[in-house]
Amino acid sequence: VFGALFAEYAFLMLLSVPLTALGISCVVLGVTTVLIPGSPIPASNIRSMIKGSCINIEALLEEFDAEGRGVYLPPRDGKVFVYVPLETSHSLSNVWQAMEAPTRVVTEVGGEPGLMVFLPLSDDMLSSIGGDMKAEEALSDILVKKLEFLESVKEAESGDKVVVRMSGSRVGTDLPRFKKVLGSLPTSIAGCVLAFVFNKPLALIEEEASGRVITATFEVQTKNG
């Protein structure tokens, strides 16, 4: 904009060819800078890589016949992971004990076997979430801006329930066990982001998908819950 105004002013008022040319060069550089994407790696490639890495998680969940819904645990050493109880009748009171459990894939919490699943969301990406960011801002930053998984995301809190409405999903996971235990890929990433922001464990209660809109409900776990 500056370049265009400057070129016009230099051409009409100053009658200076070099300054007009300088203004035009500013326009060209400005337009080129706007057209160059911020990230050198296309978001579609990042999406494909994340989707591909979920196959390992699917294989792991299949191997251990995991049936119970995962609980997203708050960060430990900057990493968010998911506790997946292997017993379907597990108690959620074990969740706080799970936070103290050794960080390994197969673990035992309160005498019940479980898995610690590391989702393909790097700690660099999570640490980019600012301390003063609200949950919806953080979700939008990661899922919409950085990963381009969604077109928009809305978050609402009611008591200990957190409802996340994700619109315009660009990723579909045909991994049934992953979906059953951790939710769809955007939901699982949303769970990680929320656990990071709230710094509390979150259990995925339910997930509904209608076309490209996904609505996920999480429950924030309190120490007595």
Partner: protein, 81 residues
């Protein structure tokens, strides 16, 4: 420095060199500046092959300007014959 930033930096350097060079040479023809900007832009774009979010408007604009300059020059030459 990543490829995209390097591309922009190179364009800035080339445009600066062209502007300063022709100004020092005391050139008063806008079409000469534009022709050299276009040439520089297309050469650097071909070398770096940057990924762009959408259609390259800057490139299209420069190509159009360059085409107009060439057509005007050809008509000038034909008129003098």
């Amino acid at each position: 420095m990543d490829r995209q930033k390097l591309y922009i930096m190179t364009l800035v350097i080339v445009f600066s060199v062209v502007t300063i060079g022709l100004t020092v040479y005391n050139d008063q023809k806008l079409e000469e500046y534009l022709s050299l900007y276009s040439a520089g832009y297309f050469i650097i774009t071909a070398l770096y092959k940057p990924r762009k979010k959408r259609f390259d408007i800057a490139g299209a604009g420069l190509f159009l300007v360059l085409s107009c300059i060439v057509v005007i020059k050809i008509l000038d030459i034909l008129a003098t014959i």
